[in-house]
């Protein structure tokens, strides 16, 4: 234990060793995380992005993070970064939106980047990832791999991002297996490993044999492994938690975007804009396809390539709601970004009620 502690201390001291003397010329980049960096999921992946900035830009930058910041009390933490010389600040949860905008008004020279946000300002950019693209692929895999014909989904909260993910997953499964059924369980938490495990067990008990999740811990996937069933990793590659069960994982990769934005600030080319990156931009990546026959793997790879090339959109028109009515097609041959970002209905074939 002492050994570990000292090792940790040494690593931290090393990180601190980049002296504050040269801080004036450096760009200080700050991060606000909603969870602990050790959640294996959402905040962990953002922290990987922070490390990528340190790795790529080395001596030109210095990074800081504040973890487990409660959304309702985040304004002070954000301002704390802004007033300590941070030139670029990433606030990485939807709930940080209003506080970020308020602080941004008071610090017009600091650049802000708000993840999954919907409001921008001259010095506030927004960014998010099209995870639903990856979910279409895992849906197809699930549709192929299920023996019982029932696939499962552990959801955090019934917000548009998650609902769009479920729809995309189901549409993917349906495209290869028209009779497939889906069961959804909400745990009302982004992160509660034991409850996520219980939810996964409930689904497995009801005959589900391929499990997807939109919560942050590896617990549901582990349950699939323990029961000899299959599943998908979420946010990060969770293969080490379930080597036999993980078919693939939808990996959030913020590294490229974060490095690019930090560079833009250093070069003076930063602009406020909205970035919604998917598989093509590398913001969403698929972990290696494993534990499946070659034909399924080939299908998945082809779908991935088609989405990357823009030949396939999970929400291509026509899209039908549960009652059979057709959704107005506001995009170019598919639902528009706004429609996906505000999705509050299940597609036809999902035999469940969306909690309101």
């Amino acid at each position: 234990m002492t050994h570990r502690l000292l090792g940790l201390a040494a690593a931290l001291a090393l990180a601190l060793g980049v002296g504050p003397a040269s801080a004036q010329q450096k760009l200080k980049v700050g991060f606000i995380y909603v969870g602990p960096v050790g959640d294996h999921g959402w905040s962990y992946q953002h922290d990987q992005g922070r490390k990528a900035i340190e790795r790529e830009l080395g001596a030109r930058v210095e990074t800081t993070f504040v973890e487990s910041v409660p959304e309702a009390d985040s304004e002070r933490a954000i301002e704390g970064l802004a007033r300590t010389g941070h030139g670029l600040i990433f606030t990485t949860s939807f709930g940080f939106m209003e506080p970020t905008l308020r602080v941004a008004r008071r610090y017009p020279n600091v650049k802000f980047e708000h993840a999954t946000g919907i409001k921008r300002a001259a010095n506030v950019a927004t960014y998010a990832a099209k995870f639903h693209e990856g979910r279409y692929i895992i849906g197809q895999i699930a549709g192929k791999m299920t023996k019982t014909g029932i696939i499962g989904y552990v959801g955090a909260f019934p917000i548009p991002e998650v609902v769009a993910g479920i729809n995309s997953y189901f549409l993917g499964a349906q495209s290869v297996n028209p009779n497939v059924k889906i069961k959804v369980v909400w745990v009302n938490s982004w992160y509660d490993p034991a409850k996520e495990a219980d939810a996964a067990k409930a689904l497995l008990d009801q005959g589900v044999d391929v499990l997807a999740q939109h919560t942050d811990s590896p617990a549901p996937l582990q349950q699939a492994e323990a029961r000899g069933k299959l599943g998908f990793g979420q946010a990060s590659d969770m293969e080490r938690f379930a080597p036999k069960a993980q078919l693939t994982a939808i990996v959030d990769d913020w590294s490229g975007y974060y490095v690019q934005r930090a560079k833009a600030v250093l070069d003076g080319t930063w602009k406020s804009e909205d970035t919604w990156g998917g598989l093509a931009s590398g913001m969403v990546k698929m972990a290696p396809y494993k534990n499946m026959p070659d034909d399924v793997k080939k299908l998945a790879e082809e779908t991935e390539a088609a989405i990357k090339a823009g030949r396939l959109n999970p929400f291509k028109c026509p899209v039908f709601k549960q009652d059979g009515s057709e959704v107005e097609c506001k995009g170019n041959g598919a639902l528009s970004d706004e429609q996906v970002l505000g999705m509050n209905f299940y597609v036809k074939g999902i035999d469940d009620r969306l909690p309101q």
Binding site: L5, L12, L16, G30, P70, M343, Q356
Partner: protein
């Protein structure tokens, strides 16, 4: 050898004042040890945690903002704790105050309702908290059910109620389905004091301190409260109805927690969200004990505990010390305060085995 306690007959008033300060210092020394174990300089940590924030006008302003809800809730808790009633559900009463008060903000949203809205919201907030606080009190008085557990269970129920409302009926229709209400109109927003972030809630906290000092020192109710706390049986012989006292202190405690909730929502957050408190209702218990249940003590304690939050964030930013250190320190601090309290009331002696009874 073993420890033996003997009650001090007349604990010195000076010791009573010095005890929390001594506890603070002991906790600092222990936390400093942990910081040292983590390979950082304890002195640098002290600078970042305490001296930095105290010598920075911005941090002082943030300190007042942070201390406001803590002081309001802890003052209310002091009524309960003085009566030996353990309300540990202030978090739920805080949420219910915010819910009832926030309801008015949403009901008047988009109308040209006048500046009467926010005062009415505050009243509803107090009412919501008080009614919710009365639930465990009534169950205790009527059925003898433990108020500790009922008030705690009701915290979860309150949080889930708010969660349901902001995800369902109260969701902002234009908010892309995200779980939050519309942002409050100016008429539903608590006025700010000056240009910074300090809002009218800070004034209420100070008023609540003065009112509590008056009630405890100058009224029959305050006297009764002290008697009930010190000797419940004597209070009964004295003709005091302990049932009525129970209801009263829970109503006051809930009302102040509810006020804190609505003040935070209308003064700070500006809308209803699934979570509107980083655990103020629980942290306030630390504040109440640290302030020795005395109104002015609580005022000082709310600032001291607020400082650990502000300092904890600076420590994350400047020293990259983990948040858990701040949490551990707060727990340690409370433990030290309670032990110091006990040492004021009792004399501690080491006795050889066989000595004593």
């Amino acid at each position: 050898m073993r420890l033996e306690l003997t009650p001090r007959l007349d604990p010195s008033p000076l010791a009573r004042v010095l005890a929390p300060i001594a506890a603070f210092m002991v906790a600092f020394v222990l936390a400093g040890g942990v910081v040292w174990l983590l390979g950082r300089s304890p002195l640098a940590a002290l600078q970042v945690y305490v001296i930095g924030p105290l010598s920075d006008p911005w941090a002082l302003q943030e300190l007042v903002v942070k201390a406001t809800p803590l002081a309001l809730i802890a003052l209310g808790l002091s009524y309960c704790f003085r009566a030996n009633l353990w309300n540990i559900g202030a978090e739920g009463q805080y949420v219910m105050g915010a819910v009832l008060g926030g309801w008015l903000a949403l009901a008047t949203h988009g109308t040209d309702a006048g500046p009467w809205v926010w005062p009415a919201m505050l009243l509803l907030g107090v009412l919501g908290g008080a009614l919710y606080g009365l639930l465990p009190a009534m169950l205790r008085v009527r059925f003898g059910v433990s108020e500790i557990l009922v008030s705690l269970m009701l915290v979860y129920v309150a949080q889930l109620t708010l969660d349901y409302l902001v995800r369902g009926p109260w969701r902002d229709p234009k908010g892309f389905n995200f779980p939050q209400s519309v942002t409050f109109d100016p008429a539903a927003t608590l006025p700010l004091l000056g240009a910074g972030r300090i809002h009218l809630g800070a004034v209420f906290a100070v008023l609540a301190v003065l009112a509590t000092a008056f009630v405890l020192g100058r009224t029959l109710f305050g006297y009764r409260l002290r008697v009930t706390g010190e000797a419940p049986r004597a209070a009964r012989f004295g003709g005091f109805d302990s049932g009525a006292t129970t209801l009263a202190v829970f109503a006051i405690s809930g009302g102040l927690a509810g006020l804190a909730g609505i003040v935070e929502v209308s003064g700070q957050i500006g809308q209803l969200q699934p979570t509107i408190s980083p655990g103020y209702g629980f942290t306030a218990i630390t504040v109440a004990f640290l302030g020795r249940l005395h109104p002015f003590g609580i005022l000082a304690a709310s600032l001291a505990v607020g400082l650990t939050f502000i300092g904890g964030e600076s420590a994350q930013i400047l020293l990259k010390l983990p948040l858990d250190l701040t949490t551990a320190f707060q727990g340690l601090l409370l433990l030290c305060v309670l032990c110091a309290d006990a040492l004021v009331s009792y004399r501690l002696r080491l006795v050889r085995r066989g000595g004593g009874s």
